[in-house]
């Protein structure tokens, strides 16, 4: 029986044995609220069980950690950790890859729009 939840609850700091995380105090329920909404959106009950949410949080954090470690391994050959490393990791997973490229392009669009807006504001200020 997984005692990971219990283990984490009693150990407020250092959630794992990896040295790079030594400084991280792993608090419980960091993503709890977000996860509840998310799980409902994906098909769970409107009020998911707290133990389920805690377990999903553990799994997600572990997933992100593994993902980042792998990305770092890839990036170490080049130097800095870049977003492209994550994209490389999920290249086999079509839905995720598309979603990420969509998010990135949206971000770019927003950046451009914001810049255009700022220019307009400047013009307004100068004309006034």
């Amino acid at each position: 029986m997984h005692s990971s939840s219990a283990g984490h609850a009693s150990k407020p700091k250092v959630g794992s044995s990896q040295p790079s995380e030594a400084s991280f105090k792993r608090k419980r329920g960091v993503f709890q609220k977000d996860l509840q909404h998310m799980m409902y959106g994906f098909g769970d009950d409107p009020n998911p069980l707290p133990e389920t949410v805690a377990l999903v949080e553990d799994i997600v954090v572990e997933y992100v950690m593994d993902l980042v470690h792998k990305a770092q391994d890839i990036a170490s050959k080049r130097g800095k950790l870049l977003t492209e490393d994550f994209l490389f990791l999920i290249r086999k997973d079509m839905p995720k890859l598309h979603r990420c490229t969509e998010l990135i392009s949206m971000h770019e669009e927003l950046k451009v729009a914001r810049r255009a807006f700022e220019v307009d504001e400047e013009k307004l200020a100068t004309t006034e």
Binding site: F24, M65, M106
Partner: protein
């Protein structure tokens, strides 16, 4: 809000930018009912008019709230009017429960700040680029989706109903591992 009358346009606009916009995460804090009231009280108006509005107000939106909003909607409409029409057709047929679920699905996301903290602690470097935050948040959200959906499949196989229990999640996780969707640790986790 001047943004749009159509419930999902609001949902569209608010959500989509999962990790990058600070607004949805804050709103996710407020219980779904509030958002629902605001959306459902406004009758689903004719798609064409409300869709035209977002495109024009895109710049105005930027004034009020830095991020996104209807950018997403206008992006979808400008990119593929066909898809837009299909979505509208489907969405108009949603029951209230489906609607609220869809809204939760679109609006939910990991808090940018929390994700940044987590990433910073894992990578060891305090500076995390913004794109990285929302890319990882997006990936994580989809992973949660896979978990929950697989857990539901497990439940139907076992002919159980009700809220998802941890045993379902564990079984779902095991299956995802077999499918190779979970990155494998090269070093086994010794102390949890």
């Amino acid at each position: 809000m001047k943004r749009s009358k159509d419930p999902f346009e609001a949902a569209y606009g608010e959500r989509e930018s999962t990790p990058e916009s600070p607004i949805p995460p804050e709103e996710a804090g407020t219980p779904a009912p509030n958002a629902e009231e605001e959306n459902i009280s406004q009758p689903p108006s004719v798609p064409s008019t409300s869709r035209a509005a977002p495109r024009k107000t895109k710049e105005e939106e930027e004034e009020e709230e830095e991020e996104n909003m209807d950018v997403e909607l206008s992006k979808i409409s400008s990119a593929d009017p066909d898809k837009m029409a299909k979505m509208q057709a489907i969405l108009s047929q949603f029951t209230e429960e489906q609607m609220s679920r869809y809204e939760s699905f679109r609006r939910s996301g990991f808090q940018k700040a929390n994700m940044k903290k987590l990433l910073a602690s894992i990578t060891g470097s305090p500076k995390i680029s913004v794109p990285m935050t929302f890319v990882v948040s997006g990936i994580a959200k989809m992973f949660v989706g896979e978990l929950v959906e697989t857990a539901r499949i497990v439940m139907t196989e076992r002919k159980e109903s009700g809220p998802i229990r941890p045993c379902h999640i564990r079984e779902a996780y095991r299956r995802l591992k077999l499918e190779g969707k979970v990155p494998k640790r090269s070093v086994p986790r010794l102390f949890r």
